[in-house]
Amino acid sequence: MSELLEILDMPFFRRALVAAALIGFTNGFVSGFVLLRRSSLTLSALSHTMLPGIVIVVLITGSLTQAGAFMGALLASLFVGLGSIAITRHTRLPQSTALAIFFTTAFALGVLMLKYVHTSQDLEEWLFGSILSVSDADLKVFFAIACFTLLSATLFMRPLLLTLFEPNVAAVQGVGVRWMNYLLYALMIFALMASFQAVGPILSIGLLVVPGAIVSLFTNHTRWLFWGGGVVGCISAVLAVVISIPLNIPTGPAIVLVLGALFILAYFCSPNYSPFKRSPKPQQ
């Protein structure tokens, strides 16, 4: 017990807690959009793609910086995203198949190239995150991402929801659908970037999908998905960081495990969908 209190005093641990709160909230908030957009699978592919992108940048520049990592991740996701669209257009393969081919290839390439990267971090940290080693500079980036997400999503909530619901009708009503889609992409990529550090590319999709899914089991109000998702994401991430220290388990998997456990609990307690209630509605 005294050991835990001692750790609470450590700067690295406090930084990790703040990071978990910021990343958890941002990802939870954006998870509402991911749910409404039905794009979990696409995002999962993109998050895997970020690994080779970042590794290439590290190989070229020789160091790992936030700006470099961001550019690498962005370029790699764009490359895979556009590549899969091009393949879909010219063949009869569905886009999900093309995406699966591209992102697994890119991810394999990334893991392979990690061998040639000489940084202090090891493979495990690359793949599953290392929230305990975030710096003050990282925290500033997470804070900026959280602010941007909240501000832009609040300002444009109405046109965003119209776009997500039915883009054609929205466009005819004067919504700048194309810009709203760019904004959605930006929000998702930023959220992924933040969680890359916390849980790594493989598990980041969990942080970006589960909170909204949990909230959706309890409410029919669209707006609740975002704020509720933010709160659930924030609390889960912080809780996971706190329990991972005494239990001596890696924090990245701990965050996703907490979320997964919460989801199962929520499923059984949900007033609308619980299997214990009579005449349950089929959940999609």
Partner: protein, 252 residues
Amino acid sequence: MNKCTHSHTHGQTHELIIKNLEVAYRHNMVLEDINLHAYCGSSLALVGPNGAGKSTLLKAIAGLVKQRKGHITWSGEDNVQTRGGEFAYLPQHEEVNWDFPITVRGVVEMGRYSQLGPWKRFNKKDELAVERALALMEMDGELSNRQISELSGGQKQRAFIARAVAQEAHVLLLDEPFTGLDRDHTANLTRLLRKLAKENRLVIASHHDVNTLADIFDRVLLLNRRVVACGECQTTLSEDNLNLTFKNMANV
């Protein structure tokens, strides 16, 4: 922008003019050489076989598909972007995400975006427009608070028509508005479309039932990638014209 008040006491009308419109999806020509004049205060049915380009023509007018050639102007204006909200569009059923967590009232309230934009507050006037639209489509009361995923096909259709009505748009572009409606609601929608035309709006709708055409619409455009015929229902719906429209041109 000269927004229409729908009163037109001085007899002024707005017109939709389509000139030499051509639309293609990749290498498939979907619409060719389309010319059309339509005026507000009337209703026009688009009739043709599957794949004739009815939905595409509606989307082209709405500014949703790229045109390869030609012009579409509304009261003299060429630019789709500037008319924001003067057009209302009803998509086909399968294009909508019915799992979206939203109530019927929420859907209809979305129709007011044309007036409110991203930031303006929902006021009494908007409330009234939503309430009226819900009542017109008989979606008020308990039904208005239901999730759209819990509605039947016909009710979904009525919710979306109510959204278009709440928009109080000048031009209504409706893709198969009668799909899924039962007898009573078909009669109800017929009355509504007639009323909208009388209010000096322009209603353009694709329709598949040739027998009921003349009861609902003033004019008809027979379409099979090109305009086969266009005019008053009585004179245009001749046996020859219908045969020309529905003969197997789409598969050539």
